[in-house]
Amino acid sequence: MMSMERIIRSGERIALAHYHLDPEQWEAMLTAPGRALSLLSCWADEQRVYVLFLDGDCPLMASTPVEDRRYLAPSSRFPAAEWGERVAYDLWGVEAMSACGDGRPALDDGFWETTWPLSSRPGPGGQAMPLPAGRSRLRAETTGLSGPLELSFDVLRGAVQGLSVDAGLAHRGVLQRMVGLSPEEALPLVARMTAGGFVAHPMAFCRAVAQARGLQPGPGTRDAWMILLEIERISVHLFDMARTARAVDAGLLATHCEHAREAIAAACAEQGVPRRLTDVITCEGVRSGLEIVPLAHAVLEVMYSRMAQLRELQSVFAPRLKGLAVLAPAQAREFAVGGLVGRASGRSLDVRRREVGMRLDALRATGSSDGDAAARDALRLTEIRDSLALIKRILGSIGMDDDEPAPEATQEGIGAAEGARGDVWYWVRLKNGKIESVHARDPAVSLLPVLHRVLQGEAPERLSAGLKSLALAPSGVAM
């Protein structure tokens, strides 16, 4: 019997890491014995269904034709694929057979102008379904998150049970808006995918585009991107720490995090760079006029003087976050939850470790594997420390050459970036220089299938604090 990865590689290789499988190979892949690969994302359109895996630390992608608007559901083997299958049904009207889950709408709750809006046979818009009677609700405007996301649940002896998530309110159809544009024309849309990834999303996208074009970003661009990504990580971690702290009345910690984040924004502005690093990544490198070395020094100066105090305050208030919104290590593994949330639950995935030119010695973050809000908060601060060390290391050898050869140009590419909230992935297919097809995977998506388990048993009044600690971004989920 062949392993899952061997079955995939027995298909027709059509790009660096993408294999076309026939329906028999697809089924064999989903029923292969032994260890399953880690699923990163699943998506489909009217023609094909795709899965993106992590094989070791490298991406591996498979796809198969959609026949009669149906395909064998990847969620029959990978429960985390369910979200992508539901999205595909809402957008294209293609159906996943033998899917796990209850098949509820992912994005379209009946408010859209058309049903299956991207399909060749769209229908009239649906009708919003009322919530089953007796269920409690955390309305979208009361979650405390930056974007709309609604929770419904039962309360049994003061504890949340049977939680379900309506995560589609923030859907804007961003990916569809990119189709037919050149990568350069599409970049402003990518740069507004989600505010926690103003750098990470464009960076992953530009890496995918470079691979599709058979290009390898030079060492100068590579290092500038790495520094910008670390500055964003520090800023977003501070934002998430501040918001979590406010949710548990740790105002002093929140205050210091907020001040530090604003000081970074001011340092960026003083260097002539947008405060939140919007539109700094381009397909060719970085925006014109951006001087990365003085920017990096300015951020280091701002943060070093604050770190000891932040650590002190974080440890003082940590007990308030103990046991809140626990993601068990086994669940993190089963659902391939990456990013900071996964790492705080014992997963070691950090796609920076596979990057060419990465100064690996600076990535030392370790911490508790308890998987609760306290573990996540402590890890955020430790990762800020590592980001500062990494920036310093890069400055010490900026533009250091490497021998990485350019990939073969196949008009298809996969790119990744380890954003503050986790690993961001892009897949693009170009045709005549324009985007023919594109998919993005935000780390928030990997949290959806585990959210009901993470929040199960919490008191309803603690849900908001739990969500804030997980730093779930509805804009990243729904796009």
Binding site: S146, A260, A269, S305, V316
Partner: protein
């Protein structure tokens, strides 16, 4: 030497005393209002950039209250509704719910390009393309995203009208 070892012995009291030293000061020329305008913030399906900037403004790095504004968490206490994001079709009910819960004399303020007309997220099957699709937008603060200082200055100008 690690980042955590660059300072000497510390205490929570020291951190408390340090807060005012690090507060970002707004424009010195900005006027201070005698009465308070209560703000309720609603994100309606954008990238969350504007929402996060409003959140920063409402945090302790800015002295929002000093300039006559306060953030409230119940629409029943709000005078102004600050909307961010390009108005998803699925978010209209939420907007109506919040608006209807606000007391009479209320105002609507679009914060950021998307909230006005959708910005780069114009109308499609899922998005209406900003508040403009629902009502004339008379009060707006431009930017993508506007900085907390921009938002504060914009709020002050609107309050002076």
């Amino acid at each position: 030497m690690t980042a955590f070892q660059t300072m000497g012995p510390l205490s929570v009291l020291h951190a408390f005393l340090n807060v005012s030293r690090w507060r970002v000061s707004a424009d010195k020329g900005m006027s201070v209002r005698p009465d308070t305008i209560n703000l309720y913030v609603l994100e309606t399906g954008g990238c969350e950039g504007c929402a996060m900037e409003v959140e920063s403004l409402c945090g302790s790095a800015f002295a929002l209250e000093q300039y006559g504004f306060a953030r409230v968490t119940d629409p029943a206490d709000a005078d102004w509704l600050l909307v961010t994001g390009p108005m998803g079709r699925a978010c209209v009910q939420m907007l109506e719910r919040v608006w209807n819960a606000m007391p009479a004399g209320k105002s609507l303020v679009a914060v950021g390009a998307c909230a006005v007309d959708g910005g780069m997220f114009g109308p499609n099957y899922a998005t209406l393309g900003g508040l403009k699709a629902l009502t004339p937008v008379r009060r707006a603060i431009p930017g993508c995203p506007p900085s907390p200082q921009d938002i504060l200055v914009g709020l002050q100008r609107l309050a002076e009208r």
